[in-house]
Symmetry: C2
Amino acid sequence: MTATNETIENLTQWEYLALNSELNVADGHARQALTDGQTKIVDQLPQLFAEGEQRPVELIEREAHQAYFTLLGQHGYPTAPGRVLSCYSSSVAMEILSRALAGSVDTVALVHPTFDNIADLLRGNGLRLVPVEEEPLHHEDLPDSLLTEVGCVFVTTPNNPTGTVLAEERLRRIAEQCAEHDVVLALDTSFRGFDPRAHYDHYAVLEASGCRWVVIEDTGKLWPTLDLKAGLLVFSERVGLPVEKIYSDILLGVSPLILALIREFSLDAAAGGLADLHEFIAGNRALVRAKLAGLPGVECPDPDSRSSVERVRFSERIGVEVWNELQRHNVYALPCEKFHWDDPTEGQHMIRIALARSAGPLAASVDVLRSVLEAR
Amino acid sequence: MTATNETIENLTQWEYLALNSELNVADGHARQALTDGQTKIVDQLPQLFAEGEQRPVELIEREAHQAYFTLLGQHGYPTAPGRVLSCYSSSVAMEILSRALAGSVDTVALVHPTFDNIADLLRGNGLRLVPVEEEPLHHEDLPDSLLTEVGCVFVTTPNNPTGTVLAEERLRRIAEQCAEHDVVLALDTSFRGFDPRAHYDHYAVLEASGCRWVVIEDTGKLWPTLDLKAGLLVFSERVGLPVEKIYSDILLGVSPLILALIREFSLDAAAGGLADLHEFIAGNRALVRAKLAGLPGVECPDPDSRSSVERVRFSERIGVEVWNELQRHNVYALPCEKFHWDDPTEGQHMIRIALARSAGPLAASVDVLRSVLEAR
């Protein structure tokens, strides 16, 4: 990409600039070293390839879905054909959903802040957005006036970058309200693997409400599979949106090798790997917080987050300016303005740091951050 | 997917029905057995994974582009950053292009027939289409009236399913006409690897014309990599379309493992594998033609095609009805109506057979086809 920090239009373009640096703490992709269990799977890639040649893709796909959903405590996922569409990524699933919504919906209520490509894909497909702040979303009923104005409510849970999880009771109530107003409820749960509080059976709650619903899952955030991943587009019966048609305009399916890899990584995670991953992320979070402790005006504003990203707020500095000083030392983080897609100034004093990194480069990056923040 | 042959909306949904059959001659993906050279690459997947962990993705991507373009005789490809965008697939590239066009273009002139998802992705993004028949396209100037009506001319070359290649002289003239009318010229060259007549330097011709141009390349048709592939979205300077922004809304990049695989398969092809592949496809084409020879009213209407698909026309039968009888024997081909996106009746008496299959299942499939066509 040709973006420079002068012409950047979105968070992903900030992330491109980091891609070739050893001190890349920008994007939310998993870039830590493989565990021993995962290394064994990667060593089996030729055998998994042979399996992909020999067995029907339908079977491998079904096993991958089952292993992944079971890992997340998502036991009630739909098993009927065509109810879980495997996409190249969660963003491809998001593009399909956005275009499917655009045929019958004008306006979408979207959580604020959240990763900006959700807002950009919805708007890029002609949809108008209304922001829903996290605070009321997690504590109060949605206003009736909002639910009569919009055709879809879209919530990222756990949210990116805040890590806030939509509690089961809140999901139930929002789904009931959406059912009442015949509004589609859409969830992006890409980061749920990191947070056991998000491992309740979302689909059971959604089904019980009777609302029309869509969920985008993402296998791509958890494991360092070099971006071999799938986004899963899951939806209710009678969702009333042409998701299958648009899906079939864009893809025939995901590689059986990738599906087999997702199955194997899921099984390894279920056998203890996920608990190890949670411990690893918690350790990296503690490392970041310890290294920044005691700096005046500097804080981590998401104390409860268990997600694989951590925000750092500094009252006296501007995120883009800190980014500039960091990159002079070859460290790449993510300025937070654009998460606040409706009001970028709200994110002005923050950067986001990726925690799914090996501890060495993460520690080196945060050391540079501390020295940059201390310098004034 | 839930599509049945009663509710099918596009060619890809026909292809889903074939996915789990051993006699799948429906989709244009490469499903033949690996050659010895390719097997050696697959055996190296763990080493390629390690390379993807250790080397900057930018380097691997550059090597993949260079190896692939060189293989196709496409020596003049753009090397400046951001001029070749690696996508998950050619259809993802097509979705990005379609949405990028929709901001400033109302109407697109599209070759007829061609694979229907090109038409559907353009129309799905709100663009109006005007058909351009193959016959005049390859022999006459485009009418001025057409070029004042449209904002983009879109040509698939070699075309799918006909195999017709846009000759260098014709590309030069069409590009000049597009330059004159400031119309974007877009090419889908997904099948060019199969046909040396399409291995001239398209980008040099396009650049010389001064027109605004976009080309979609596809590594996914040539080799049986289990759909580990990339679509390449290549475009001129000052193309005047927000392709980079929409790309960055959808992806950060393609897996370095896939890029390394493309590099290795390209190098193997350049070292003799491509000539072997051409021979293999020619052999399969000869096999299909020989097995169907002498059937009254049955012919292969694309005598010059070197593409990895072959059409079969039968004057007395309907494609969907032949499809139905084939699938009773577990053979899955592709009825051709929907290639004729502007006039499906033109494709009514044809099916398309995929040639990128091992000779055994292909021969068994065509034997069934012959018996079905003989039965009346």
